[in-house]
Amino acid sequence: MIIVNTQEHPWHEGMTVQVLLDEKGYIFRHIIVRVNGEYVAEEDWARRMIRDGDDVVVLHLTAGG
């Protein structure tokens, strides 16, 4: 199990940041990802692995209007 934006989310082998974003349906382009507090740049999403127990923050910046 991992934490994503303070909520539990099931973890599985081979989960990268990009896989997680796809699972969550996070398609907004204007987001910031941090894994255990460490910033992950967009170009690294496909290869940055997520481990069981990680705390992930996917910050969607305010938009609209």
Binding site: N5, Q7, F28, R29, Y39, T62
Partner: protein, 710 residues
């Protein structure tokens, strides 16, 4: 050619540090024209823009003033930063009046050139009072120092023709057309309460007049009720320092950095330069936020048919710099050119459609069950040229459609129109009826609050159901986000001054997706900071979009990325660079708080502005119907288990709906308590005297009103 009823010559006020120091008063009833001094008190407490509008409006009206009384004013002002050309989004005009929809002050903003040209013509604000005897045009020539009131005979009704006629008439030649801006409504604004104002600017590449709108709250209805067919301003000689700013070097530097950011990052971020705000349609659909069929659900598989890509590939002209004021490199004001109309009085003509913006695609599209881009653009065009507030129209017609779907009203009640979800032919016919003042048009133009009464009294509809599904608060229709799962956004719409418009706070991601503000106190802090910050744009004459629809590449390293700290600092620096004052980020918020609290007290003065007036309909908070609950049953059942400790397996559907409702309504009350406390208001929503004193907003006339409620 109109007959001149009044001519007035003036010496244009010289602009110094963002202000001309003078405002213009025109009474169209007795043709009085007066110049007023902009006082230090006005600048200190009200700053400009919406602040000046509310200041003058307060003085003009009495507590019992109705929207169509002659003393009601339309006031416009563009603020001290309005018209600078070095930064993006600096050409907004703020407009205020007592609204026919809400009976309290409404403020709305528009791009286009009118506000800056008005200022460069010598006026920090314009007040229009009275009612003309016959239809008129008010013309201001800022170069000649001339104001003329003329009769309006022979002019077209609809804005796309009227503004073109007037631009040609008042420009000295073809090249001069860019120096003319027109404010007008349109034929439907005569017959409905949510008529809006078009603000024009001439596009020399397309050789056509384009529009931005001050759309909310019925301002166009008031303009025509005053028998003002149009306002026209002409000013030639735009240059980068007409505001005579205190530190032009600073402003240039900030502007250059910002424009580079825009050039390098827009493509990677929101793509504003390709499609504008409509870039978010599929995002909203994916996150269950795209209002569909009167906000019943937050998305639909058919939304792909109205995706940004569809509009970009098939309709929108690309590769042209599309700013609605000089210097805006965000340039999001896209158009569909050579668009062939299929219905209405202009059927067969090829026109330029300004838009579509997000609210248009969501409102006239998914919320009406219309997933046809051609139909949406046609609706967009007719809303604009007829002078119809697109958001109120969309939300109101979505309500009517659901009433029809649920058997609350019949086809006969709608004059034979088959207004079922998805029937865009009927939607367009309804617009044409509004334009002609025929059939069901004028009734549908009353807006949801009045229609609830009509449907219950005349057609026997269920008042409770109408109350639950009618998406209005304070009499104004909601803008286009399905926000049931964001408590903070429920507050962002209902705990507002003018009504549920997204220009106070848009907190859905922060609340519902990021879970950044879980406690009531954190939500309340966001419902303090963001509305105040957004109010500031209205004081300055600024467009909100360049603030956070693009962010610096290193924004993620900042302490609160959602606030885009570097851009907030840009605004502080630009304000100081223009005015020569020295404010900081905290004072920026205080400037807004003063005006925000003044507006709250203004609502009180007009008999509104209390807790009871801040209530949302239940559709804003949760699932009204069985189908709505069932559409997200897993989520709602989970919430019953986790938030209320209940076992959904042991409950039937109606019980689940009822306990969900009770819980959510309680949550909203707790949120209201927290927000009022944070804003320095009593439990009834009244600003306390201590808070007003601390803000320096304890003006005698303000205190006098507040005391009646303490």
């Amino acid at each position: 050619m109109g007959r001149i009823l009044k001519s007035y010559n003036y010496e244009p006020g010289k602009i110094f540090r963002g202000y001309t120091g003078k405002s213009l008063y025109i009474n169209v009833g007795d043709l009085r024209i007066e110049e007023k001094e902009v006082t230090q008190l006005m600048k200190d407490k009200f700053i400009g823009g919406k602040g000046f509008d509310l200041y003058y409006l307060w003085k003009a009206v009495k507590p019992e003033t109705q929207w169509n009384d002659p003393e009601n004013e339309i006031v416009m002002s563009c603020g001290p930063l309005g018209g600078i050309t070095q930064y993006s989004g600096t050409g907004k005009t703020l407009v205020a009046a007592i609204s026919p929809m809400t009976d309290i002050p409404v403020d709305s903003n528009a791009g286009g050139y009118f506000g800056p040209l008005l200022k460069f013509s010598g006026w920090d604000a314009l007040e229009l009072q009275g009612k003309a005897e016959q239809e008129i045009v008010v013309f201001i020539d800022g170069n000649k120092g001339l104001i003329q009131i003329e009769t309006a005979e022979g002019l077209a009704e609809d804005s796309h023709i009227l503004a073109e006629e007037l631009t040609r008439k008042y420009a000295e030649d073809e090249k001069d057309m860019v120096n003319v801006s027109v404010v007008s409504a349109g034929s439907a604004a005569r017959h409905i309460l949510y008529g809006m104002l078009n603000f024009s600017f001439y596009d020399p590449r397309r050789k056509t007049v384009r529009f931005k709108q001050a759309a909310r709250g019925g301002l166009g209805t008031i303009l025509l009720d005053k028998k003002i067919k149009a306002l026209v301003v002409r000013f030639k000689g735009i240059n980068p320092n007409l505001n005579d700013v205190a530190d032009i070097g600073l402003i240039n530097k900030i502007g250059v950095k910002y424009h580079k950011e825009m050039r390098d990052l827009d493509e990677k971020q929101n793509g504003m330069r390709k499609i504008g705000t409509a870039n978010t349609i599929l995002v909203m659909n994916k996150y269950d936020l795209l209002p569909t069929r009167n906000f019943q659900t937050g998305g639909d598989p058919e939304a792909v048919k109205i995706s940004p890509q569809v509009f970009i590939e098939n309709f929108l002209t690309q590769g042209i710099h599309d700013g609605c004021w000089y210097g805006c490199t965000m340039s999001c004001a896209k158009t569909a050119d050579h668009f062939k109309l299929l219905t209405g009085p202009y059927k067969g003509e090829c026109v330029t459609v300004d838009g579509p913006e997000y609210e248009c695609v969501a409102g006239l599209g998914s919320n009406l069950g219309v997933f046809d881009p051609q139909a949406i653009l046609e609706e967009n065009f007719y809303c604009d040229t007829y002078g119809i507030d697109l958001i109120s129209f969309a939300t109101c017609i979505a309500f009517i459609m659901e009433c029809y779907q649920r058997g609350q009203i019949s086809q006969e009640d709608m004059g034979g129109l088959d207004l079922r979800f998805g029937n865009h032919e009927a939607v367009l016919e309804l617009m044409h009826q509004m334009s002609r003042g025929e059939g069901f048009g004028p009734m549908a133009g009353l807006g949801i609050r009045k229609l609830k009464k009509v449907f219950a009294e005349k057609f026997g509809a269920d008042p409770q159901l109408l109350q639950d599904i009618g998406m209005e608060s304070k009499g104004l229709e909601y803008s286009e986000y399905c926000h049931k799962e964001s408590l903070a956004q429920q507050g962002g719409f209902a705990l507002t001054n003018k009504g549920p418009q997204h220009d106070e706070a848009w907190l859905i991601f922060m609340d519902m997706v990021n879970n950044q503000i879980p406690s009531f106190e954190e939500k309340a802090e966001a419902l303090h900071y963001y509305p105040m910050f957004r109010t500031w744009f209205g004081l300055m004459g600024l467009c909100k979009l360049p603030w956070n629809d693009i962010v610096p590449a290193d924004n993620h390293l900042t302490d609160i990325p959602a606030r885009v700290p570097e851009h907030v600092q840009n605004y502080v620096d630009i304000f100081n660079g223009v005015t020569g004052m020295q404010i900081d980020k905290a004072e920026l918020i205080r400037q807004s708080e003063r005006v925000y609290n003044f507006q709250r007290v203004f609502n009180l003065r007009m008999g509104s502005g209390l807790r009871q007036h801040d209530k949302p309909p239940y559709r804003s908070m949760g699932p009204v119907s069985r189908e709505e609950y069932e559409s997200r049953q897993d989520l709602y059942d989970k919430q019953l288990r986790e938030k209320q400790g209940l076992d959904p397996e042991k409950m039937n559907l109606d019980e689940k709906i009822a306990v969900t409702r009770k819980y959510r309504e309680q949550q909203f009350e707790l949120l209201t308590d927290a927000v009022y406390k944070r804003r320095g208001w009593t439990k009834q929503g009244v600003p306390t005297l201590e808070h007003l004193a601390e803000l320096g907003m304890d003006l005698p006339e303000v205190v006098e009103v507040v005391k009646q409620y303490l």
